[in-house]
């Protein structure tokens, strides 16, 4: 299934690598990403472009590993804006990232349910 939010092929690959620890990986990603969103909000409040850039970069890496291409793309735009110190672009981007993460995390939780009880 071609999905902009979550790439099933990537998830299958992760499942194969992680075996029993697959659910734990997904949970870790969800929790870590929630923390990162908090970090990003704080950095925006403090107008700290450097922290914004680092956190966005790191978030982008995780997203690409977890097969969330749309979210990874938004993080890349955020990282880019922070590098250019165009903080005025950040609030809108952050909003889109939060919305996209909500979708991804719902989908991942569904995946967790399937994996545990399916």
């Amino acid at each position: 299934m071609d999905d902009q939010h979550l790439d099933n092929a990537v998830l299958l690959g992760l499942q194969e690598v992680m075996e029993d620890e697959y659910p734990q990986l997904l949970e870790t990603f969800i929790n870590d990403s929630r923390d990162r969103l908090g970090t990003l909000q704080q950095a925006l409040g403090a107008a700290d472009a450097q922290t914004l850039r680092l956190a966005a970069h790191s978030f982008k890496g995780s997203c690409s590993n977890m097969g969330a291409p749309l979210l990874a793309g938004l993080c890349r735009q955020l990282e880019d804006a922070a590098r250019r110190e165009c903080l005025e672009e950040v609030p809108a981007l952050l909003e889109r990232i939060a919305a996209e993460f909500a979708i991804v995390s719902i989908r991942l939780k569904g995946e967790l349910q399937r994996h545990r009880f399916g």
């Binding site: 990537v10 690598v17 990986l25 870790t28 929790n31 680092l54 790191s58 690409s64 590993n65 977890m66």
Partner: protein, 561 residues
């Protein structure tokens, strides 16, 4: 395989990525250490010394660049591969990874197959480096071992080589401290009558094989020179010995020279070395050309020990050099060569500066110094200025025989090939009272013997030796006549008597020749100081009483103690 199991440090600030990487690496059978930032990574590295590091570039607290630098520093010479984990795409950032000591990159998202392949590739590199270091250390240990063996060998050899007289006041020489292991050999010794023997040798090859032949060669040289053997005998023995012990293809290019201060002669045999030179006080020079194959090449029956003899006046110098000078090569592969050497000779004004001038010329030619050159220079001096070495003898502490006489007759065939002097000297040195005058005894024996043989038996005219041309003619004829000698004899009569206080040796040397006008010749010799005039007056100076009887065919000399 257990040996494939590595300890891998993963430094990554994102927990999900860290978990993913750890699992991939652990599934490959490696032990995983994890760190969430650069500082943790450095601390873990110090504690656990992992063999491979996967390092995120951008991390809080301490970034991957700094952590990689510190880890590389701690690792020292050992290769600890650092693979940077990055989604960085700008080339500038990739350059920073390499500059920090990174060995490879892995881009996000991680691909398991590529990661595993990279770990394997890095492991091969790591082992290669470890092997190189091991072998380097092994080679260093071997080299140290070799050098210490060479030091021991050189110390042993120096004991033998330095029993000679290279430190005599008329000798100047230059030799590299590594000469022995370059195959270069430089020896000098007195014979019992104070003649000086000099050998410059150059063994083929380098290292221990080149050095190994030096020891027996030096033993033969010193042993035979001290016992009064002639140059041809020493050459024959050296050649035979080297031929016997050296493998095929190893031999010794050599020049052997003897300088007689009493006769003022130079005798030279050159087998395979560059031309030596007799540098005359007047600035002219006589090349001493190689006319023979090196020592250790020919069998005894093919070996040619014939020497050339030159008159040598005070102020004349014998100069010998190894091929290192002529074969010094510059960057354009040109050789220094003979012409450049001769130019240095021509330009030389102060004899004592000659070595330095040659070295400087070679250095200028090559653009850098050369440290494997051997050179020696031997000057002609007055007899009194040199001290000859004591004649070697194993003293048993006993008096030796004190009341005996013996006569020996050596006929033509023996005279052609046998030198009776060392034999007679050793016999006479059995008498303890004579040991202190071994040198004088040998000189007198040698002088009387050569007079008896050359002027008596072979009827050579000593007046030929008045000038340089006649001189070489004299020695040429001496060789020719001796080679086809059919008749004649030389007799030695020895009479030893002892008493409570001391004793005396009465020596008679008799020949089959026609004799000579004793009174006239002696009177003539008083006036002469040329090439031929030193013999008889020398005998008179060294022995207690001396006289000629039977029309000059019997010479008598006495030694007292």
């Amino acid at each position: 395989m257990a040996s494939d199991r590595l300890v891998v440090l993963i430094a990554e600030d994102s927990p999900a990525d860290r978990m993913l990487l750890s699992t991939i690496v652990a599934r490959e059978g490696h032990r995983v250490l994890t760190a969430a930032n650069g500082l943790e990574a450095v601390a873990l590295f110090e504690q656990e010394r992992p063999q491979l590091v996967l390092m995120d570039a951008l991390m809080p607290v301490m970034d991957g660049f700094e952590a990689a630098r510190r880890i590389k520093q701690m690792a020292g010479e050992a290769l600890v591969p650092v693979i940077f984990l990055t989604s960085l795409t700008e080339s500038e950032a990739l350059v920073r990874c390499l500059e920090a000591g990174g060995d490879d990159f892995l881009a996000k998202p991680y691909n398991r197959v590529i990661l595993v392949a990279k770990i394997k590739a890095m492991e091969r590199l790591r082992r290669l480096q470890a092997t190189v270091l091991e072998q380097r250390d092994l080679i260093a240990r071997h080299n140290e071992h070799l050098l210490s063996e060479q030091r021991v060998a050189k110390a042993v050899f120096d004991k033998v080589a330095h029993s000679g007289c290279l430190d005599a006041p008329n000798i100047r020489y230059l030799q590299s401290p590594h000469a022995l292991f370059n195959g270069d050999l430089l020896l000098a010794a007195y014979n019992p009558s104070g003649d000086m023997y000099v050998l410059l040798g150059d063994f083929t090859g380098h290292g221990l094989p080149a050095a190994i032949g030096a020891m027996p060669l030096a033993e033969v040289f010193y042993g035979m020179a001290a016992k009064g053997h002639s140059m041809p005998e020493i050459l024959r023995e050296m050649n035979a010995k080297l031929k016997r012990i050296l493998p095929v293809g190893v031999f010794c290019c050599a020049t052997l020279a003897s300088v007689s201060f009493q006769r003022r002669t130079l005798k030279v045999w050159n087998g395979g070395l560059p031309d030596g030179y007799l540098l005359r006080a007047d600035g002219s020079r006589e090349p001493l050309v190689s006319r023979h194959l090196p020592l250790g090449v020919l069998d005894a029956e093919d070996f040619d020990e014939r020497c050339e003899v030159f008159p040598m006046a005070p102020g004349d110098r014998l100069f010998l050099l190894s091929d290192g000078v002529l074969e010094a090569e510059n960057a354009d592969h040109q050789l220094f060569g003979e012409q450049r050497l001769l130019a240095v000779f021509d330009a030389n004004r102060q004899p004592q500066r000659l070595f330095d001038e040659i070295l400087t010329a070679v250095e200028r030619f090559r653009g850098r110094a050369q440290d494997d050159l051997s050179m020696i220079e031997v000057g002609m001096m007055d007899v009194g200025m040199l001290s000859s070495a004591p004649v070697p003898f194993v003293d048993t502490g006993q008096q030796g025989p004190l009341d005996w006489s013996a006569s020996f007759e050596f006929r033509a065939e023996s005279l052609r090939s046998f030198n009776p002097l060392p034999f007679l000297l050793q016999l006479l040195l059995e008498v303890r009272g004579l040991r202190g005058q071994g040198g004088a005894l040998y000189s007198v024996l040698a002088e009387l013997y050569s007079n008896a043989l050359e002027h008596g038996v072979m009827e050579l005219d000593s007046s030929l030796k008045r000038d340089a041309a006649g001189f070489s003619r004299y020695y040429r004829e001496r060789g020719e006549r001796l080679a086809c000698l059919e008749h004649g004899f030389v007799r030695f009569h020895l009479q030893v008597r002892g008493d409570q206080q001391g004793g005396r040796l009465e020596l008679g040397v008799e020949d089959s020749g026609k004799g000579f006008d004793v009174a006239r010749v002696l009177a003539e010799q008083e006036r002469l100081d040329g090439f031929c005039g030193r013999g008889l007056s020398l005998v008179r100076a060294l022995s207690k009483r001396c006289a000629w009887e039977r029309g000059g065919t019997l010479a008598r000399a006495e030694f007292h103690w």
